[in-house]
Amino acid sequence: MAQHSVETGDEAENAATAKAGVLTPRLPQDIGIRSQRQRILEAMAKSCAEKTFSRTTIADIVEHAGISRGTFYKHFANKEECVFAAADAFLLELQGVGAIAYARSGDLPLNSVRDVIAAVLERLATKPEHTKLLLIEAPIVDPEVVRRYRSFVIGALKSMLQAGSNVARAKADPEIAFGRAKVLIVDYVAAGQSEDLPSLLPELVYIALLPYAGQAAALAQAKNAR
């Protein structure tokens, strides 16, 4: 399973490489396998964007990735396994992006939330094919994908906002907040407007803060985010 730990986003990968590289230099063959798998995942995202997952064939992936059919099956049993791996990889990348934005943001929890959302939206916008794969294609194959990132998103928000002692406990439900955000974002992605996602920052700041900071504070922060 060692080669499965790679897709943690550029930053996280670089950090991991820097740490690991000192003591355990990678073998060239290992690097080859890693990049093969990476190429397959990229090819899956590309093909899903072009013709949807249900119309994507192994032949399409093999062609986009420039590998042999045998190489594909060395990494994945079927195209479903491959699309889930691609969704997981992108989710990990987004987690990395969010964690870095959080680390760089100041001490005010409300500002941190804004910075993290902004960073994640930027990444979604710059990788529209992966965004479509994660938010639309993979959930059609298995709705479990959504549950996985929901628990991550809600957990992250909770830990960011409960870190600050000044936040009130309002009664809006965080799971409903996640649903609102998903509807708003998927609407853009499904319309092929992923590149415009960063414009949703004020709305998403509002949605994220509503269950924790309450209506008045959430509206004020949304206004600031414009």
Partner: protein, 241 residues
């Protein structure tokens, strides 16, 4: 949000007239107790009813035109007289179902009362409509998402038509918060929750979500305190078991 980048929206086929009384071809068949032949008169209606039944049974991707023909008891030629292909037939059936839901919701929403009261009635009729038709709910919410870009764009249009109702009505409240996309943020709470319950197979218990969804739907417009009052009113109206 502009639709200009949504080329599929322009390509949609014109919507046919929905069958005169949709309830008569809702699932499960035979519940109305009338001979099927009396009720399902036209071939077109038979095909629309059939595509919904077949999709509910097998899923959209797995069902074929042959399945629809068999279910409707009509010939292939007849099918292609009415519809371009399976997708066209399915989307037309979905449009008819949406029209039925929309008419019912509007009727509830348009009755006199304060705006939050009207929202409550509209929401209740939405949840009850889905709860009364769990298989149809599954076809409209879940299967519709697996069809393709035309269906997905139609789906988004439908959602926007429903949230536009909120935009219209909310003009009557004192001060609508200055928040972009407020109707989608409000309506998204209901849509996401209904979608999830339908996916989990809990469609028949949707009406029990009235208090919570009333609160979440109105919250962006009127704030916690006023939304909580509406939630309590919805709670009080809930039928006792």
């Amino acid at each position: 949000m502009s639709d200009s980048k949504d080329p599929e929206a322009a390509k949609l086929a014109p919507v046919g007239d929905p069958p005169s009384n949709l309830h008569l071809w809702k699932l499960p068949r035979g519940r109305h107790g009338l001979p099927r032949e009396l009720v399902l008169q036209s071939q077109r209606e038979r095909l629309l009813a059939a595509v919904v039944r077949v999709t509910a049974k097998k899923g959209y991707q797995a069902s074929s035109v042959a399945d629809i023909l068999k279910e409707a008891g009509v010939g292939r030629e007849t099918f292609y007289k009415h519809f371009k292909d399976k997708e066209d037939c399915f989307i037309t059936a979905n449009d008819a179902l949406v029209a039925d839901l929309e008419a019912e919701v509007k009727e509830a929403y348009d009755q006199a009362g304060s705006w939050p009261q009207r929202v409550r009635r509209g929401l209740a009729s939405t949840l009850e409509w889905f709860a009364a038709n769990p298989e149809i709910a599954r076809v409209m919410m879940i299967e519709m998402g697996t069809v393709g870009p035309i269906a997905s764009s139609r789906f988004r249009e439908t959602f926007r038509r429903f949230t536009a109702l909120l935009d219209d009505g909310s003009k009557s409240i004192e001060e609508v918060p200055d928040l972009p996309n407020i109707a989608n943020i409000a309506g998204g709470a209901v849509f996401a929750r209904v979608y999830e319950e339908v996916a989990l197979g809990n469609t028949t218990s949707l009406p029990h979500l009235m208090p919570q969804l009333t609160f979440e739907l109105l919250l962006p417009y009127i704030g916690e305190e006023a939304a909580a009052r509406e939630r309590d009113a919805a709670q009080a109206e809930e039928p006792q078991p």
